[in-house]
Amino acid sequence: MIDVKGLYKDFGSLHVLRGVDLHVDEGEIISIIGPSGSGKSTLLRSINLLEKPTFGEIWVEEKLITPPDPYLHTEIIRASYTYKAMMAARGEDIKVIREIKEKDLLKENSRFLRKEGPEYYALLKKIIAEHYENAYSVRRRVGMVFQHFNLFPHKTVLENMIYAPMKVNRLERPKAVEKARALLDSVGMLAKQDVYPDTLSGGQKQRVAIARALAMDPDIVLFDEPTSALDPEMVKEVLDVIKRLAETGMTMLLVTHEMGFAREVSDRICFLDEGVLIEDAPPDIFFSTPKSERARTFLDKVL
């Protein structure tokens, strides 16, 4: 359902993600954990393109949502002038490709793409024509729940719920309202449908935010530290909602610091450190016998 391939993300000179590969199947629940600054949120936010990857590709339901990455399609690199020049000089395919990529990562030939010829661009365009889908249509099918809820403060709870379904999915108002009310009911917030978000507690806001994401009928929901901004006594009510959603078979990607919860609901745990995915294992295995030293150190600190 989701394929992240060779994902790199730089913020200026800061390399947040350094080559992440991740595959998510339909119905899977995956928790991404790791120390702060390890790139967890960036990875999650890349999946609906709130962050634009520096390199790498993201595929959602067989559709390419990022520009094609030439380094993942070696025939494109082979069509480049840079490659041809370097091959003529030295000539060992794999080495040359790796060298070009490394230079590019160091921004040494960041201008190389602009100088390329028609053959190179034709190959890129072919991939785009066959597989590319723009960000807006992807985001419709990928729901997102934020750490800080991000409800629209000038709209009531119900208006928050029906806005995108009506605007983006062209649902008629009565249908949107009916669906919104059903979802609000399922998160226990129906009684609050006519109030403004600022009058709600953090836990209530997050439950509405989850319902709002579900109102778009997403195929997958991304949770970006959904309980990190909550007072301790409100964590459980939100986790309960997420758990119930998990039981419906929804595909979910969850960045969280709630280790117990991650262990309970996840099919897989992905441990990220310094922008690299260093472990990807079922929770029982990960929490009992982590392979890497860094995962062990991390677990010692948080458990």
Partner: protein
């Protein structure tokens, strides 16, 4: 000198129609100005450099040149070099609108900048396009936060419209000048005009307060 306020009563019909001119000019300029200010402020916050330059150049012109000069330019100057012709009302309204757009867009830019990134992200994550996001999510919140300065702008606009008397439109000020030239009395007409404006401005501030309270209904009670 004996004060005689009965002349004000005598001229009341003229004052009435002049008041209408003043209000018409103010309201038209404000609405047009608001309309102009939206694309202008969007240019100012956009990532596209040339758009930013155009917008700040526009603002600097309307801030840098005295309003009266702008009015004369539009009414007397422009029609001589461009194939356009304005009535005094059109020229005045246009200048006031363009002028207030410059000021409104400045505070609007601040208002937009002050909105949390999370609001953009939430809208984008729901699949909403840029135009819809701006219209339904960002601008309503921005306008709410700039409402006080918008009311200020409205008030100074109202007072600035006295400048259209200088291109021959009969607004309240012009009526006063007419009275003065006919009767050689200056205190009574200008006193009456001051009172008119004062009442108008007080009324506007009051309306502004009401409006503010209305749009703030979503705040925590």
């Amino acid at each position: 000198m004996q004060l005689d306020f009965s002349i004000i009563l005598k001229w009341l019909p003229q004052f009435g129609s002049a008041l209408l001119v003043t209000l018409e000019t103010t309201v038209c300029s404000l609405l047009l100005g608001l309309l102009f200010s939206i694309p202008l402020s969007l240019c100012k916050i956009s990532n596209i450099r040339p758009l930013q330059w155009i917008a700040s150049f526009y603002t600097s012109i309307f801030r840098g040149v005295p309003l009266l000069v702008q009015v004369f330019m539009m009414y007397f100057g422009i029609p001589l070099v461009l194939p356009v012709k304005f009535t005094a009302f059109q020229a005045g309204t246009l200048v006031f609108a363009m002028n207030s757009a410059a000021y409104i867009s400045e505070s609007m830019r601040g208002g937009i900048k002050a909105i949390d990134r999370g609001q953009y992200e939430a809208a984008l994550a729901l699949g909403v396009h840029y135009a819809g996001m701006m219209k339904d999510i960002i601008l309503p919140q921005a306008i709410k936060s700039v409402l006080p300065s918008l009311v200020n702008e409205f008030i100074s606009l109202l007072k600035n419209t006295t400048l259209i008397a200088s291109i021959g439109l009969v607004d309240i000020l012009r009526v006063g000048q007419l009275i003065q030239s006919r009767t050689y009395r200056a205190f009574e007409p200008f006193f009456a005009i001051s009172v008119f404006y004062y009442i108008l401005v007080m009324g506007l501030s009051f309306l502004g307060k009401l409006l503010e309270r209305r749009v703030n209904k979503s705040d925590r009670r």
